[in-house]
Structures are given as structure tokens and as C-alpha cells.
Amino acid sequence: MKPTRLLWTPALAFWWRDVIRFLRQRNRIIGALATPLVFWLLVGSGFGPSFRNPGALTSAAATGSYLAYFFPGTLVLIMLFTAIFSTISVIEDRREGFLQGALVAPLSPAAIPLGKFLGGTTLAVLQAALFCVLAPLAGLPIGWHQATLLLPALVFVGFAMTGMGFLVAWPMDSTQGFHAIMNIFLMPLWMMSGALFPMPAGTGWLYWAGALNPVSYGVTAIRSSFAATSGMALPAGYLTGLVVTALFAAVMFVISVNLVSKRSKRN
């Protein structure tokens, strides 16, 4: 066999394997879907009466209720959870599992990240789409116009979330370490993204925390998708949100490929 560095065939195998594994583990589906659902209902109902949506943001949601406000944020949380579950396996898989075999195969350094990113994105988008069925309960419209905008937003957010999970998981040697990073890094990114509460305008630290947080743009893209109308005009913030999220996803991918291609003397 001539020396080659394979990309698509192995990447698709990883993708397929992730999907099959996920479908065979029912508790994972329930975990990734039920936790945010409960969170949405409890937090949403609890905060509802005291929530006042600032005027600037009401346009994005059909109603001013907190359940409606929190709905896009919950979608992002579902995607974050799914991405985390699908990348956390990398930690053990690499030392004792399927990935060991991949590391001695003649692969392009992009093959493993590409496969994992595609797998994580597929699962995250599927779970999020399932949750979207509940949108009318929150008073949000969900039809062709919304779905058309929502799908690319979900895909890029899923890709970016899987990317963050992969970057955290790859250098780790224990799942405990992953949980620590998740709690002090990934969850705050989500909380400071406008998913849980509207980020204030102005120049305060909270404003900057939101403006510099790439997750904010994903939340914005998803939230504004629900405000789609039959006209040609895109809802405010949608395009910026989508472009920034896509760029962020691309950056995550490039860093991951770089990380995987390193064969250090440390091993």
C-alpha cells in the first residue's frame, strides 16, 4: 500500500460510529434531552413572574415570557450537553479503546477531528430539532421560515460546541478533569451568552463578557431565527450571529487538527 493520509473515509467511519453508539445507548439520549428540558421548565416557570425582558430583545421573541426567552438558551444547552457527551469518550478511547487503532492508521491529522465534529454536530442538531417541537408551548412560532434559518444556526453552534468539547478532552487524561473544566469554563460561557438572562447594554464587565463570548453569537443566531418572517429580510442579529459562530467553529477545528497532529516525545 502506498503511503497515503486518508481523510474522508475514516472521518465518515468515525461519524457513523458515533451515531450508532448514541442510538444504542438510550440513557444518553434521555440524559442529553431530559436534563435541559427539566431545567427549562423549572427555571423558566420559576423566573417567569419576575422576568422583564428589555425592550431591545423582545423583537426576537414572539412573546415576552421567560419560557420563550429561555427557549433558545435551552437549545444551546442541549447542544452543549450532547457535544460534551460525545467528546468526553475521546479521553478513554485514546488510551484504551477504538481511537488507539486510529492513531496508528495512516490518517490525515484532520480525519479524527472531522469525524468527531461531524458526529457531535449530527447528534446535537438532532436533539435540538426534537426539542424544537416544544417551541409552540413557549409561544414561539416554528414553521418553514423559522426552520430554514434555524438549521444552519444549529449546525454551526453544534460544530462549535463539539469543537470546544474536543479541545478540552483531547489533552486530558481523566474524565474528572473534563468535568472540572466543564464547570469552570464551559458552563459560564453558556451563562454569559444571553442564554439565561439578557446581557446588559453599555460598557460594564457583563456587557463585555457577552460581547467577547463566542457562544453569545450562537444564542443570538438561534434566538433571532424564531423571529423569521415571510419577507426577504433576515431578522436583526441573525447574520452576524451566524458568521461569528461559523468563524468560531472553524477556529476550533483548526486548533483541533493542530493538536491531533502532534506526536510528542512525551508519550
Binding site: T9, P10, R21, V104
Partner: protein
């Protein structure tokens, strides 16, 4: 490159350190084509480090290694294309069936479609797995899993197979099956296999054995050559507490002129006429000797003779994740 025609693996002066510790301290050896070669050594002796370098997972500090003529550092992609690797811990996905694992495994090497399917049939026939292809891997016995693992490696029709402690966790029956499978691969397909092990009986089945201890190659040859070099049979004496093994060893050496060593509290003598010597010793030291054993030399005796130590576990191999100076590749 005439060397690569006769040698499947050429290792020259490999050195690898983890901080202060030399995991490999200048190892050189060659594995011939079509050979079943065993790297025997206690845990922590350096054989896993050597395995990881040969498998292109880790970089040496200095020295070189070639597999089928390709350098493992500078031509890793070429090495990987023709190398089958069986890891100590399973590399199959337990949630998938054997067939699904084989398909995924083949895809990693760019195999698809009818070519992949025909190779799957060929490999599963070679390892007697054809009836089990649709079983979920985690429901299978350890022996079957290991066979499926080897089948996955065979999909690429490798020139060289590397196996890291392949019989770990297998019962004796499954171990025999595994060796039968390796021997068949060698005879039917001319596959060269390098296998690390800490089991003497396993190494005794190989064509040639390299014994590794403290990062050095301390013996190399066929099992018969190595044991023949001991120079006779081995007498082991248990000694009464009053005398002590050191004292008795000195007494024996001064009286008979035959070198006696002490290994783990027992006196040990290699001798061409062990039976006659044993009878003489039993007569001369009836009080000091509490029990006496004569045995044909084994690879363990070879290890003891070359290192002066019992084949017990040495220090564990260095922690892969311990902080050490990181050098970029």
C-alpha cells in the same frame, strides 16, 4: 535496500528517557521476515516503550527503527500503511458488532465497498469468526474479542504485526488459540510478528526471543539457544535459617570450586552434571539444605543468569503523564 528484504524490523541503538529514567538504554536488534519474535521482559523493563515507538505512537530520544524499510520517525505514514497493531487494552468498540468494528477498522485504511467486504470475509475465516460477526463485542469472551482484534489488523494485509502482551486477560485455552492463529498467519501469509510478553511459556513458543531488562537487551536467540547457553541444569537449594543462603553459597564455592549464587534467598547452581552434584551436596550439607530442586533451564533461568535478578516486576514504567520537558515534533 537489501536489509529490508531479509529484515522486517531493524532497531538501532534506541534511547528513550522519561526525566532521569532510561526506559530504553540503547537497544539494537533485528527481526527477520516471517519470524515470530517475542520481546520478553518484566513489567517496567522497557518493552512497552519500545512497542509504542515501533507503533509510531511515541518518538525516541535518539537511535532509529525501521519497519519494512521505512523509518518510524521520518516515514510514519508509510510504516502505518503496512503495520497491524494489537494493543494490550482492547481497541474494539464494545457497543458495536464484530462486523461493524471490522468495517470501521477497514475504513481507517481507506478500504470500502466490495474490497472491504471480501477482506472481512477473508480475515474472519482466518480467525474462525465467521459465525460471530453479528455479535456485539462487549458480550463476547476475552479470547473472541482478541481474535476479532487481530482480524481487524489483518484487513490491511499487514507485512508486520505488533502485539503488546496479547494474551493478557486470556484463559489458557484462549492463549493456545491465539498462538495457533499467529502461527497460521505466519505459515499462510508470511506475516512477521513481534510480540511483547512477560510470560515465559509464551516466549518459549517464539522463533526467537529478545530479553529486555532495565531498558537493555540482555539476551537474544532462539529459546533453545538461550537455555542451552546456561551450561547444564539448574539446582536450587532452600537453606536452613541457622546457616543462611549466603553462608552456604560461600561454603559450596570454597569446597567444590563451583560458582553458587543467591537469588531471592535460595542458593542457585548451574552445572552440566547436576544430578551427581546434587547428590554430593546433599551428602556434604545434610543439615544446611532443607530442600533441593533440579530443573532443566527455562527462559527464567536465562533471565536470572544474565541479570542476577529474579524475573519479578521491576519498577513500573514511568507515568506517561508525569510532567516532563515537552519537545515539539
Amino acid at each position: 535496500m537489501s536489509e529490508s528484504k531479509t529484515h522486517a524490523i531493524v532497531i538501532s541503538d534506541l534511547v528513550k528517557s522519561f526525566g532521569e529514567r532510561h526506559a530504553l538504554d540503547g537497544i539494537s536488534l533485528e527481526v527477520h521476515r516471517g519470524e515470530l519474535f517475542c520481546l520478553l521482559g518484566p513489567n517496567g523493563g522497557g518493552k512497552s516503550t519500545l512497542f509504542r515507538i515501533l507503533a509510531t505512537l511515541s518518538l525516541p530520544d535518539s537511535g532509529a527503527a525501521k519497519i519494512a524499510g521505512h523509518d518510524v520517525v521520518s516515514a510514519a505514514a508509510a510504516v502505518r500503511s503496512g503495520l497491524g497493531v494489537v494493543f494490550q487494552s482492547p481497541s474494539l468498540d464494545g457497543k458495536l458488532t464484530i462486523l461493524e468494528n471490522l468495517r470501521c477498522g477497514g475504513a481507517l485504511y481507506g478500504l470500502t465497498g466490495t474490497e472491504l467486504e471480501s477482506r472481512i470475509t477473508e480475515a474472519s475465516k482466518a480467525l474462525n469468526l465467521i459465525d460471530r460477526l453479528n455479535d456485539i463485542v462487549e458480550t463476547l469472551s476475552g479470547g473472541l474479542q482478541r481474535r476479532a482484534e487481530i482480524a481487524k489488523c489483518l484487513l490491511i494485509r499487514p507485512e508486520v504485526l505488533l502485539l503488546d502482551e496479547p494474551s493478557t486477560g486470556l484463559d489458557p485455552g484462549a492463549r493456545l488459540d491465539l498462538w495457533a492463529a499467529l502461527e497460521k498467519l505466519r505459515s499462510d501469509h508470511g506475516v512477521t510478528a513481534l510480540c511483547t510478553t512477560h510470560l515465559m511459556e509464551e516466549a518459549a513458543r517464539a522463533d526467537r526471543v529478545g530479553i529486555v531488562s532495565s531498558g537493555k537487551l540482555v539476551a537474544l536467540g532462539t529459546p533453545d539457544e538461550l537455555t542451552a547457553a546456561i551450561g547444564g541444569d539448574v539446582i536450587s537449594l532452600c537453606v536452613s535459617k541457622e546457616t543462611g543462603a549466603d553462608q552456604l553459597a560461600k561454603l559450596i564455592t570454597s569446597k567444590t570450586g563451583i560458582p553458587a549464587t543467591v537469588v531471592e534467598g535460595e542458593v542457585r547452581i548451574e552445572h552440566g552434571e547436576a544430578y551427581a552434584l546434587a547428590a554430593r551436596l546433599a551428602g556434604e550439607f545434610p543439615k544446611e539444605i532443607t530442600s533441593l530442586r533440579i530443573a532443566r533451564p527455562t527462559l527464567e533461568d536465562v533471565f536470572i543468569a544474565r541479570t542476577g535478578r529474579l524475573f519479578a516486576d521491576q519498577d513500573l514504567e514511568p507515568d506517561m503523564n508525569a510532567p516532563v520537558k515537552k519537545k515539539k515534533h
